[in-house]
């Protein structure tokens, strides 16, 4: 299959932003796929497969994060990550 690259922007809508729990969910989701996934904010780009990285990007509530995935299963990976953002990381 050809290399695919997907780029999407998401708004952080949960109450506390990207703290440990959402970071863990993102890493777990991303870890299931072969493709490279990065999350970028204000010029800081970290791997979506790194907990420590995600906790340093300061994804405060209301901020916009740019997610890029590249690899054969990039579409599936992006769909799963989108689900997490849309559902506010299943937090109330």
């Amino acid at each position: 299959m050809a290399e695919t690259a997907v780029l999407k922007k998401f708004k952080v809508t949960n109450e506390y932003g990207i703290h440990a729990r959402p970071a863990a969910l993102l890493v777990k989701a991303a870890g299931k796929y072969e493709c490279d996934i990065f999350i970028e904010k204000d010029g800081n780009k970290v791997s979506c497969k790194s907990i420590m990285g995600l906790m340093t990007i300061e994804g405060y509530p209301g901020s916009i994060l740019k997610v890029s995935a590249s690899g054969s299963d990039a579409h599936d990976a992006m769909a799963e990550i989108e689900e997490l953002f849309v559902n506010k990381f299943y937090e109330d």
Binding site: E15, Y16, G17, I18, H19, A20, R21, A23, A24, V27, K28, G31, K32, I51, M55, E58, G59, Y60, P61, G62, S63
Partner: protein, 313 residues
Amino acid sequence: MTTITVQDLWDEGAERLSLSIIAGEQHMDRKIPEIAMNRPGLALTGFFQYFANQRIQIFGLAEFTYLKSLSDKEKRQRLEGLFEQQIPGIVITRNRKAPAEILELAERFKVPVMRTSLVTMNFVNECTVLLEKLSAPRERIQGTTMEVMGIGVLLRGDPGIGKSETALSLIERGYSLVSDDVTEIRRTTRGRIVCWANEVTRYHMEIRGLGIIHVPSLFGVASIRRQTELDIVIDLKKPSGDEDRTGVNPENIELMGVEIPCIRLPVRSGRDMANIVEVAALNQKLKELGHDAAKELDDKIINRLTKGRVQHG
């Protein structure tokens, strides 16, 4: 609570409590319904409205001095009253000679009588500890127990996942083996779980490809421990992808009604499990001191992020 008999007390405590049987030897199978001791002084005065007859009765200096003050008739009468209450057994302290009446009544009422060289206070202290140990609920579970820097660690996992190998690496790092593969546990009255090894296989390990080894012979007596209180359970398992990544929400498991923190560690080839178990034990120690690194970092991040909302939003 397990029921225990006078025989159990004798088997476990004869040496430690310097006991000898002086009467009723064939009635040692009498049960001790209430796992405690009683000084029968008040009962000897004839007061039976409240008498802890289900406990082991201790005859110390006070009881003897009081009996001496009675006439022979009274003495016999009072002692008979005591034996009629179906007491489980009698222990005479300070190696005092038992009055003939006690020996005779013991045979008649089928009550074992023992004697100890200890003074009453020391006997009661030692015996309380022993009775508690004897009556504590116990189980046998699958798992290898280590003591790592004072932290009791139970390693569990499917056969062949590497429990013994991990334990061996920990021993090489200077930590101590409590039990390999089969662990006996009991719950103390303080709600802690104590682990130790089966008498027969104690301090032996089976290492695949090597067979059975005797740990203290190879690594010295510092490499073993008789028992340890359990602080953390570590489950070694095949990687599944749903492992905890932050430690913010630690899991607990239940052992004999006691909640114990449990960590699931995925085993991959080339991963130094002993090192990770060592760190897990250290981290548990830190948590017990009130310092939870994962939670503190998370709180710090949440604090920053929500402050950020005010600034940017």
